[in-house]
C-alpha cells in the first residue's frame, strides 16, 4: 500500500511536475513527520500549561492579596500586549544566553533549555495571559446570589471554587477559550524563527531543497486545517458533555 502511494506520487512528479516529495522521499517524509510530531507536542504541552497558568492566575487575582493582584495584572499586561514572536526571540536569544549551561555529553556545553523548551514556555505564557482574562470573564458571570448561598452554607474559598464557581464559569467561557486555544495552535508556527523543527520549519526545509513551494504550501494548509479540526472537535465534545439543560449558556 505504502509502496503504491509512493509510486503514485513519484509518477505525479514525473508526469505532471507536482512534486509531493514527502510521500515518496524517505528523508523528506521523516523530516515532515518530525515536524508534525513537534508541532503536536508543543500544542499539547502549551495548551495544558496555559490552562494551568490561567487557573492559577485568576485564583491569585481573586484572592485578598494586593501584591498577588498586582503581579497577575503586570503579567497579563506584559504578555498580552507584546507580540509572541518578540517574546519568543527574547526568551531564546536574550534569556537563554545568560542561563547556565549543562554538559552535552560530548565534553562541550549546551543550553539548559532547548529551542523547543523555550517555544513551549513562551507560548504557554502568551496564551496563559489571555486565559486569565477569559476565566475572569467566566467567573464574573457566575450569579452573585449563588456564591452568597454557598458562602452561607460554610463553604471555604477553595471548596466554593472547586464545586460551584469553576464548574459554572467553565461552561460560560468555553467559546472564548476555544478561540484562544485555536489561536495558540496557529501561533506555534512562530517557533520556526528559533529553529524549532515544527511543521512550517520542516516544510520550508523541504521546499528550499526540492523547489516545491506551491505543493508544500497546500500540504501545510491542509495539515493545519486538520490539526485545528481535531482540537475543535474535542472542545465541542467537551462543551456538549458539560451542557446543563435549562442553564443559561
Amino acid at each position: 500500500m505504502s509502496q503504491m502511494i509512493a509510486a503514485f506520487f513519484e509518477r505525479l512528479n514525473d508526469t505532471q511536475g507536482l512534486n509531493f516529495s514527502i510521500f515518496y522521499d524517505a528523508f523528506d517524509r521523516s523530516r515532515f513527520l518530525t515536524g508534525l510530531w513537534t508541532t503536536t507536542y508543543i500544542c499539547v504541552a502549551s495548551i495544558l500549561a496555559s490552562l494551568a497558568i490561567g487557573l492559577i492566575g485568576v485564583w491569585i487575582a481573586g484572592s485578598g492579596s494586593r501584591l498577588g493582584r498586582l503581579l497577575v495584572r503586570t503579567y497579563v499586561q506584559f504578555f498580552r500586549n507584546t507580540p509572541p514572536l518578540v517574546q519568543l526571540s527574547f526568551f531564546y536569544f536574550a534569556v537563554g544566553g545568560v542561563l547556565p549551561t549543562v554538559s552535552d555529553g560530548f565534553g562541550g556545553q549546551s543550553p539548559l533549555i532547548s529551542g523547543t523548551g523555550w517555544a513551549i514556555i513562551a507560548f504557554s505564557l502568551f496564551a496563559g495571559a489571555f486565559n486569565v482574562e477569559i476565566f475572569r470573564a467566566g467567573i464574573e458571570a457566575v450569579p452573585e446570589t449563588m456564591v452568597e448561598a454557598a458562602e452561607s452554607l460554610g463553604y471555604t474559598r477553595f471548596q466554593l471554587w472547586r464545586q460551584i464557581v469553576l464548574p459554572l464559569a467553565f461552561r460560560i467561557c468555553l467559546p472564548a477559550l476555544n478561540n484562544n486555544l485555536v489561536n495558540l495552535v496557529k501561533t506555534t508556527t512562530l517557533a520556526y524563527a528559533i529553529g524549532v523543527p515544527e511543521l512550517l520549519y520542516a516544510a520550508s526545509q523541504i521546499w528550499s531543497e526540492m523547489f516545491n513551494v506551491r505543493e508544500m504550501m497546500n500540504v501545510l494548509l491542509v495539515v493545519y486545517v486538520l490539526l485545528v479540526g481535531v482540537l475543535v472537535w474535542i472542545m465541542h465534545r467537551w462543551e456538549k458533555a458539560m451542557r446543563i439543560p435549562g442553564y443559561m449558556p
Binding site: G108, G115, R214, N218
Partner: protein, 273 residues
C-alpha cells in the same frame, strides 16, 4: 462530498497556476528604466548593510555594473536563501546575484550564467573550545545552519548532526554565540571573512574542518532568459569580469582573500583570447 470535491479542485487550481512570462526581459527592463536585482544584505562583504543602512558589497558592485551597462536605474531587493529562487521564478526580480551555489537541481529551475563568478565550499565556524577535528565529530550534536542552503541536506545525510536551521545568517550566528549549538555550518568564504574581520566577538572561534564540496556561485536569470538577449549580455559581462581582472580587483576592494578559482579562471580566459 460535494464540498470536499470543490475544496480539492480549488487546491488543484492553485497548483496548476504556473507563472507565465513575456519573453524579452531585456526590452522590458529598458522600457521600465529599472533593473530589479535580488541581493543578500546579511552576507558580509558580498552584500551587507553599511552603517548608514545602504546595501553595499562585492555583489552590489556587480549589480550596479549590469544596470549601468543596460543604462537603467538599479533597484535592489534583499532576498534570503529560502525565498530567492521563487522570487526569481515569479518575476519579482529580473536578476539574482545572491551568493547562489550552482547545483544541477537548481539548474532545472533557473538559468545559471556562465562563467561562474565565484566559488566557495562548505565548512563550520566553531568555538575553539569545542575541539572539533573532523566532520564526523558533528554526529548527533546540534549544529546551527541557515535555511535553504544547498549543503544542509548533504551534511545532514552524510554526518548526521542535529541541524538547527534559522531564517537568516545573523540569527544563526546569534544562536552560536548563545551556545545553542556547537558549530555554525556555512560557506567557508563567509566564515573566513567573519574570522578575519577583527571583531573581538569571534576571537575564540575558528574554522576547524577541511572545506568540503566546492561549489561555484552563479548569477541567475529565469530559464527563458538564459538563451535570450538578457542572458547573452550577462554571459559576456561575466567573461569580461574574469578577463579584465575586475573580480580580483573587487576582492581586494572588499578585503577578501584571493580565491584560487578567480586566479585560475582569469589566467584561463586571458590565455584563450
Amino acid at each position: 462530498m460535494k464540498k470536499l470535491t470543490a475544496l480539492a479542485l480549488a487546491f488543484a487550481a492553485t497548483l496548476a497556476a504556473a507563472p507565465a512570462f513575456a519573453q524579452d526581459t531585456l526590452a522590458k527592463i529598458k522600457e521600465k528604466g529599472v533593473l530589479t536585482v535580488g541581493v543578500k544584505n546579511d552576507y558580509k562583504p558580498w552584500g551587507f548593510l553599511d552603517p548608514s543602512g545602504k546595501i553595499v558589497g562585492l555583489e552590489i558592485d556587480l549589480a550596479q555594473e549590469v544596470a549601468d551597462k543596460i543604462g537603467v536605474k538599479l533597484e535592489m531587493i534583499p532576498v534570503i536563501a529560502a525565498n530567492r529562487i521563487e522570487f526569481l521564478r515569479q518575476g519579482r526580480i529580473d536578476l539574482m546575484i545572491a551568493t547562489l551555489g550552482d547545483t544541477a537541481e537548481r539548474r532545472k529551475q533557473i538559468g545559471m550564467i556562465e562563467p561562474n563568478y565565484y566559488a566557495g565550499a562548505t565548512n563550520v565556524l566553531a568555538p575553539k573550545s569545542a575541539g572539533l577535528k573532523k566532520w564526523e565529530d558533528l554526529k548527533g550534536r546540534k549544529v546551527c545552519a541557515v535555511q535553504g542552503a544547498y549543503y544542509n541536506r548533504r551534511v545532514s545525510q552524510v554526518y548526521s548532526p542535529e541541524l538547527v536551521v534559522f531564517p537568516s545568517v545573523p540569527d544563526g550566528l546569534n544562536a552560536l554565540q548563545g551556545n545553542n549549538c556547537v558549530a555554525f555550518l556555512f560557506d567557508d568564504t563567509l566564515i573566513v571573512s567573519t574570522l578575519s574581520g577583527g571583531d573581538p566577538k569571534w576571537a575564540n572561534y575558528e574554522m576547524p574542518l577541511n572545506s568540503e564540496d566546492p561549489q561555484l556561485w552563479a548569477v541567475a536569470v529565469r530559464l527563458d532568459d538564459l538563451d535570450g538577449a538578457f542572458g547573452k549580455l550577462l554571459k559576456d559581462m561575466s567573461v569580461e569580469w574574469h578577463k579584465s581582472g575586475k573580480l580580483l580587483a573587487l576582492e581586494s576592494k572588499w578585503g577578501i582573500k584571493q580565491s584560487p578559482y578567480l586566479i585560475e579562471t582569469n589566467k584561463k580566459l586571458k590565455g584563450g583570447s
